[in-house]
């Protein structure tokens, strides 16, 4: 018997040694669920492991995986019931079934739309967009547009076209309301410099903003390119409409107006714009897309609406599909194929060019259906790996150490502030019987406001304090949100749990499953019992202490 064990261990060791380089094949092939795109992701990512001689991390447990999927698709962790329903299921196709359910089941449509509305709102207008006094952006307007679009799974290219070409009023409830205009209403100052920069960056992954004033020091974009892109936006005006008799902006209307050009001759048939080189020489520009395609230079809206032309040109650009693939990939994997994800110009080559190109092509073939690309990535092998490192990928595949990501493990990251907020509501069942969407958003954005720090420049740049530093830790220790989550008053989550007919072990299990999607360890149970003694048998108070510790832990705040 002893000898047998020993031989067994030796065998294992040998297998490990033999399989070190090229070991990806030795692992059991992950399922592709019969989806071609999943198979191709798995193949190309494995190829990278072989090239770098990396052994991938083990597969994540069901609990770990389901927690991720809920966080990344719905923006919150799963409830205990949802967790158990999944882990108790035995079907080999259960992961595919869950992703399908979260994406397509009516029960989840609203949560899906709300989560991605939050994500896209932050991308399009920033965390503070629309919260300034007399802002030209209506945050509710932006959100309404996105929610409606995402709830009925509008194709992504249609959304982009609408955002780039929108006209109408920005505020819900006004005449000709079109929430899509809010992407641009605040970006038209200073000759629409922000509209130019953000449109290129967000949808095409091209950073032209540096070239506004000078040729780019290390990529091929020239100053001319910025102004040629800029020329597409020069018929666009954001008109303030005031509340009668006051100077308060009631809403803003985005319109296209004929543009006569900036030249002395004012010839609207060839509406030109001018910019200055650093040596003081002035140059002329007309609308030209990044790939060199030109349009009719007329400034008359009767002849040509420049933003509509831009929208059409963007639809054909390969940058459009690759940028989407990169963004979705980064959302699920923690890192994109480029860093930053929205800088995909020729100077910044991607880590997996073939895969990026393939995903872009496929999503274009599937009409830019967001739910399809989400399911490909969510069902892929690299997304299902553990965040635990092994000796072969611990340092070779750690982007924090400056290594390029090889996706041989799941990269831990902190929940976004919005995810934490929603997760706390889920974990404490506080989402039941909340007010309507607007009222919830109002509460949430007031809470989020404490983390947003503005940089004080005209580009509205901002950063967040919700980044693992002391203010965030203080908020988790002592803030209202966690106070409410650990409340022990009658009717609260904890008091109901304490009074339920579960036994004590089950109650502790419930807390750990609610927060971590796993059961407690022996030591954790032990400390829970010590706390019960310290609280002199007051179960609610002990649960409160445990719950506070659980919610404040790294394991809770990290998407792992």
């Amino acid at each position: 018997m002893k000898r047998q064990l020993w031989a067994f261990a030796l065998l294992g060791l040998l297998a490990q040694m033999v399989s070190l380089p090229g070991s990806a094949n030795a692992q059991t092939e992950a399922s592709d669920y019969g989806i071609q795109e999943v198979a191709e992701i798995n193949r190309l990512i494995r190829q990278g492991w072989l090239d770098y001689e990396i052994r991938p991390s083990v597969a994540a447990s069901d609990g770990e995986w389901v927690r991720r999927v809920y966080l990344d698709i719905l923006g919150r962790i799963p409830s205990v019931e949802e967790l158990r329903e999944f882990t108790q299921e035995r079907s080999p196709e259960k992961r595919k079934a869950l992703v399908t359910k979260l994406l397509y089941d009516e029960e989840y449509t609203e949560q899906y739309a709300n989560n991605w509305t939050t994500i896209w709102t932050n991308v399009l207008i920033g965390r503070s967009g629309g919260t300034e006094r007399n802002s030209l952006t209506s945050r509710p307007g932006m959100q309404k547009y996105l929610r409606d679009s995402l709830a009925r799974n509008k194709y992504y290219n249609e959304m982009v076209y609408e955002l780039v070409t929108a006209t109408g009023s920005n505020t819900p409830g006004t005449d000709q309301f079109n929430g899509a205009v809010n992407f641009m209403t605040m970006k038209l100052e200073e000759k629409a410099a922000q509209a130019t920069a953000k449109t290129s960056r967000i949808f095409l992954g091209l950073q032209v903003q540096c070239t506004q004033c000078h040729n780019h020091p290390f990529n091929e974009w020239k100053q001319q390119k910025f102004w040629e892109m800029n020329a597409f936006f020069r018929q666009t005006r954001a008109l303030r409409r005031y509340e009668p008799g006051t100077r308060n902006v009631s809403h803003v209307e985005l319109v296209n107006e004929s543009f006569q050009g900036e030249g002395l001759t004012k010839d609207p048939d060839k509406a030109d714009i001018y910019y200055e080189l650093r040596n003081g020489i002035t140059k002329v520009a007309y609308p030209v897309f990044v790939d060199g395609q030109t349009i009719d230079p007329s400034g008359y809206v009767e002849d040509v609406i420049r933003r509509d032309e831009l929208g059409k040109l963007m639809m054909e650009s390969r940058y459009l599909d690759k940028m989407l693939a990169n963004r979705i990939w980064a959302h699920f994997m923690g890192y994109g194929f480029t860093k930053p994800i929205d800088d995909m110009g020729p100077h910044n080559p991607p880590t997996h060019p073939e895969l990026l190109d393939y995903l872009g092509q496929q999503i274009r073939k599937k009409n830019f259906d967001l739910k399809q690309i989400i399911s490909w990535v969510a069902l892929s092998e690299p997304y299902a790996l553990s965040s635990r490192t092994n000796s072969s990928n611990e340092s070779l595949d750690d982007p924090l150490l400056g290594e390029s990501p090889k996706f041989s493990r799941f990269y831990m990251r902190q929940m976004r502030a919005e995810e934490l907020y929603e997760s706390l509501l889920t974990a404490t069942r506080a989402h039941e019987g909340r007010g309507d969407y607007e009222a919830q958003e109002e509460l949430k954005s007031r809470w989020l406001g404490q983390f947003v720090v503005a940089f004080g420049n005209d580009e509205g740049e901002e950063t967040t304090n919700f980044n693992g530093t002391i203010p965030q830790a203080l908020m988790m220790f002592n803030g209202d949100l966690v106070k409410k989550a650990t409340d022990s008053n009658k009717g609260s989550f904890l008091s109901e749990l304490a009074e339920s007919n579960l036994n004590n072990t089950q109650k502790i299990n419930h807390l750990f499953e609610a927060a971590f999607a796993r059961k407690p360890s022996t030591n954790e149970v032990k400390v829970a019992n010590q706390l019960l003694i310290a609280r002199k048998g007051d179960l609610t108070a002990a649960l409160q202490d445990i719950w506070w510790a659980v919610l404040n832990s790294n394991e809770f705040i990290l998407n792992h």
């Binding site: 400056g402 940089f455 420049n457 005209d458 530093t469 954790e524 832990s553 792992h560």
Partner: protein, 423 residues
């Protein structure tokens, strides 16, 4: 929020005794920080600090520190004489009386004219690189100077009223602690008796350590370090340093009733408490339009009042020789005035102001040409400013950090010393 920073009836020492005395639940990794209090007076006398006055948006230095009267690009402002050997803008009359303490480096020449890139470069001495995050000067200096103040319980790198740049590869323990200018720190109140808090911390530490031991990467252990710092801070009487409201009225008035004024006053209080690096932010310099009215009516009066008060106050308290002051933004603004009566981004020729902390005051170092479009003398960079500040504070320029991927990085990115600041 007006509360005392230690929980009711609990001194820090008392709290510590609970932490260490209870035997049933000893605290493993979260064992509380340093209580060594020795040679404090001696250390106090020699400890060095730095204050960065960060002008977010990029202020037009040729309207403030390097005027070009008569040049077509010069703008309407006139130069005035100062207590030092330089002239500055007529809208900085209070600073004019303090300029013997401060030197203007007029031959700054940098390459980054985008806000994000410029902010990163001026804060770190490196251009952004997708593969590595460099530590900001605040993180570097607080890291280097912390040993001089073992008794410090509050974060060594504080930013007031604005964002900064993070600690990069030095790790979250050196991240800036960000407060607003009235010194309110949110969520400081625990409202729990100390015994129970400590028991909760024990349970928390057990869960944290279990997760860290699973080797999932540094994010897990970074979190634990922050928890420890947070606990330190919640129980420290040193938090009083943030309370500018308690200063005498005439002092508050001298600094000005503005956010920046309160921020500068807080910086002085934090220096006295032993915080080695404080960044005070003043935004609103991105003046693409209507620049001169904006500077004259709002920006310069606010700056002049607060900055002059800070220099004067530090000098009177004999803190200036040990406290470096650095005034800068991410870049400056075009000599040319644009069609909207504004100036755009410009990095090629501009000024930074430094003083205190062992640096010579009263000088104008370097020169720009007659219309401010070019540097005429040896050009200086972000690295050179920082190298000089390091030397002034007694930090060796041979200090080398090793990034997580093993790359050696010299402090201040091998910047050269600006000689005039020392001769």
């Amino acid at each position: 929020m007006s509360r005392s920073s230690t929980p009711k009836g609990m001194s820090r020492r008392h709290f510590m005794s609970h932490m260490t005395g209870a035997s049933a639940m000893t605290m493993p990794a979260l064992a509380m920080g340093n209580t060594l209090l020795n040679n404090a007076e001696d250390l106090k006398r020699r400890r060095k600090s730095a204050i960065l006055l960060w002008m977010g948006g990029g202020p037009s230095t040729m309207d403030i520190w390097d005027l070009k009267p008569g040049a077509p690009t010069g703008g309407p402002f006139r130069p005035i004489a100062t207590s030092g050997d330089q002239q500055i803008s007529e809208h900085m009359p209070l600073m004019a009386k303090q300029m013997h303490n401060m030197s203007i480096i007029r031959s700054m020449s940098t390459r980054e004219a985008d806000h994000g890139r410029g902010r990163y470069y001026m804060h770190t001495g490196y251009v952004p690189n997708p593969n590595i995050e460099h530590p900001s000067y605040g993180a570097v200096l607080s890291h280097q100077l912390s040993h001089q103040r073992p008794e410090l319980e509050i974060p060594p790198f504080v930013t007031v009223g604005g964002g900064s740049v993070g600690p990069g590869f030095l790790g979250m323990a050196w991240a800036p602690f960000s407060v607003n200018s009235n010194g309110q720190v949110r969520n400081l109140q625990m409202g729990l008796e100390d015994q129970r808090l400590y028991q909760r911390m024990y349970a928390l530490d057990l869960i944290e350590s279990g997760f860290i031991n699973q080797r999932r990467g540094s994010a897990a252990s970074d979190h634990q370090k922050i928890l420890k710092k947070t606990l330190n801070l919640m129980t420290s009487s040193q938090m009083d340093a943030f309370k500018v409201a308690g200063e005498p009225e005439d002092v508050k008035e001298r600094y000005g009733n503005t956010n920046f004024g309160r921020g500068c006053l807080m910086a002085r209080r934090l220096v006295e408490q032993g915080v080695p690096f404080i960044e005070v932010g003043l935004g609103g310099w991105d003046n693409h339009q209507n620049i001169h009215a904006t500077l004259r009516d709002t920006k310069l009066p606010e700056l002049d009042q607060a900055m002059s008060a800070l220099v004067e106050d530090l000098e009177q308290r004999e803190l200036l020789q040990d406290t470096a002051i650095i005034w800068m933004g991410e870049f400056s603004r075009t000599p040319r005035i644009n069609g909207n009566a504004g100036r755009d981004h410009w990095a090629r020729s501009w000024s930074v102001v430094v003083g205190g902390g062992g640096l010579n005051g009263g000088l104008a170092i370097g020169e720009t040409n007659s219309d401010g479009t070019r540097v005429e003398t040896e050009p200086y960079t972000s690295q050179d400013v920082m190298a000089s500040v390091c030397k002034g504070l007694g930090i060796s320029l041979q200090t080398t950090f090793t990034s997580q991927n093993g790359r050696p990085m010299k402090i201040a990115n091998s910047g050269k010393i600006i000689k005039e600041l020392f001769s």
